[in-house]
Amino acid sequence: MEAVLESGSVLETAPAALEGVPGWFNELRQAGWKRFGELPMPSRRDESWRFAKLGQLEFDGVHLAAEQPPPGHRGAPGLQKRAARFGFVNDTLTEEESNLPDGVICLPLKRAMAEHPELVRAHFMQRETKLGSAKFAALHQAHVSNGMFIHVAAGVEVEDPIEVFHWLEGDHIVAFPHTLVVTEANARVSVVDYFQSDQKARGAWAVAVNDLVAGPGSQLNYLVLQDLCDEARMIQVNTTTVDRDAAAKAFILNAGAAWARQESLSLLEGEGSRSDMLAVSIGRARQEYDQRTFQHHASPRTFSDLLYKNTLYDESRTVFSGLILVDEGAHYTDAYQTCRNLMMSDEAEANSMPGLEINADQVKCSHGSTASTIDEKELFYLEARGIPPQSARQLVAQGFSVEAIARLKNEALEELVLSFAAREFGRILGAS
């Protein structure tokens, strides 16, 4: 635990030196703090914060947790079949369970640094934050104290997913969840990151960083299930690098939080690599989801496919900004980007900014974004079968998300996401 100033916000709290970690880690934290101080807060003039409600960046009185939480599981029941489960409450480890094959390192960051210092150091916070939240990534670097380090050795396949629960507990607390996943050649793993909180986590923040490094021919699946309480906020900065013939698949579900921003950068570094970027966001009340993506094709014969689906109720709001960049020489690239919004209310708002920059030949690229209302023909059909209008609307809205969920192509993970989505739609139906 760090010393906490009584009144000061986390933005004014310099990180103290942590005990039991390598010197470089403390140096990195200090460097992060310095960088945080140097970088300006996002402003209206920043293209990467266009349409964003900057008023959401509210850190008054937001502080690091001082209390040691009791051990135990918090949050959703999760998967029946899992290879490992780790839980953190305000970044403190509160549960661990592991049933992993040889060749997998799956450890809380602190322990990983002690046991595999060079491996962690080689991958930890190595990528530049390009999509707008560099200042918050620096804040994360300054205050990160724990997290998950998952490393799968060459040729090792982990059958069942690894679950990581990040739980926020308490008024105006901030956590810095960190998940770093590395797959060596031809390895395979799926990791599910849960972000949840208790209902008292008012004004709470998660400032998270997630890096995925998919080695040659490996398969890396990563899911974010964001179901924070309605008064919490979150920023997650993700960088995915995909090596030769590797496939990375990332899925984000937004169900909770007052405001959540996700920046997802996929770098298709190796020839023949593939990245699937999927998201489902279900907005209600005045929730806002702000998603910025970057599909960067740096090698030939690379493939990326992005599908984001938003269902917006009440006065909820989304911002989607996506860029496809095909580097010179990245010939025979396929890159697709689709963002679809289903408007369930006249007051909801969807903002889309697709972008495309192609510097190679023989490239197939497309991008599109749509906003539509629910199809009356579908509703009439369901109602003509005796399904009440409210339930019919819920079924159709839920069905709208399924296209993205089905692309997980893993029954257990699809069911997991569907259970979160169904609960959220149930909540909406119950409130109407």
């Binding site: 199809d375 009439f380 059909y381 109602e383 079968r385 399904i387 339930s391 069905g399 399924v402």
Partner: protein
């Protein structure tokens, strides 16, 4: 115990389509309605089901004495009405199994849950009967279904929901002869003294397989002729030209 349509007038976008339609379908009988394009056949089906695009300006539809004008679309369905669609809607992301389950669930009293095991057993039996692959339970409703698959699916739903009155809107359109036979077998299996059918069709062909008790001709928004099943054959032979030639016999 009948579905009774009395002096029904209905309009859409200010245009009157049904102009005083009278029809009585007692339980246990199959009535066929035939008529040329634009005569109001599909409008009749939608008006009975309660589609919001149509306004009833005069007359009534009652089902076993219950005036349907006081019931919403879903309430009519739960009261025992079933509309087999000419063009069934595709509902992406909603699986057949979940859709039918929701429809069955809606018929249970509040707080009561469907018996999932019995439900699936019944669903699979009926799918087998109609020659529908069991894999269809996990497919989205009608999405990517062929014309024949969609119509079989309509009959499957009818079998699962066991309505009292079935209105079938051009169920034969887009069907090849094999699919038509399967669909007709399904309908015939459901014929019972407790159930009435209104079969709307443009062609007589369907009526070779679903034998009607009565045949009516709809033209200009009214029933212009009624008769036995031989009327269908007469129409098949002579076409609807008699309507133009003023050979109108009173209904």
């Amino acid at each position: 115990m009948s579905l009774i349509i009395k002096n029904l007038h209905a309009e859409t976008d200010g245009t009157e389509i049904l102009k005083g339609l009278d029809l009585e379908i007692p339980r246990g009988e199959v009535h066929a309605i035939m008529g040329p394009n634009g005569s109001g056949k599909s409008t009749l089906a939608k008006v009975i089901a309660g589609h919001e695009d149509y306004t009833v300006t005069e007359g009534s539809v009652t089902m076993d004495g219950v005036d349907l004008s006081g019931l919403e679309v879903d309430e009519r369905a739960r009261a025992g009405l079933f509309l087999a669609f000419q063009y069934p809607a595709e509902v992406p992301g909603v699986s057949m199994a979940n859709f039918l389950r929701a429809a069955r669930q809606a018929r249970l009293p509040e707080g009561e849950e469907i018996d999932a095991v019995a439900y699936y057993k019944e669903l699979y039996e009926k799918m087998d009967l109609l020659g529908i692959d069991r894999k269809f339970t996990s497919r989205s409703v009608n999405e990517g279904f062929s014309g024949g698959e969609k119509k079989r699916n309509e009959v499957l739903q009818m079998m699962m929901l066991e309505p009292v009155y079935c209105v079938m809107d051009e169920t034969d359109s887009g069907l090849d002869i094999d699919a038509l036979k399967v669909v007709a077998e399904g309908v015939n299996a459901m014929r019972s003294p407790e159930r009435g059918f209104l079969v709307i069709t443009h062609y007589q062909r369907l009526l070779n397989y679903i034998e009607p008790d009565h045949v009516h001709v709809l033209a200009g928004g009214r029933i212009v002729r009624s008769g036995g099943k031989e009327l269908a054959h007469e129409l098949e032979a002579k076409g609807y030209d008699f309507l133009k030639e003023g050979e109108l016999a009173p209904a």
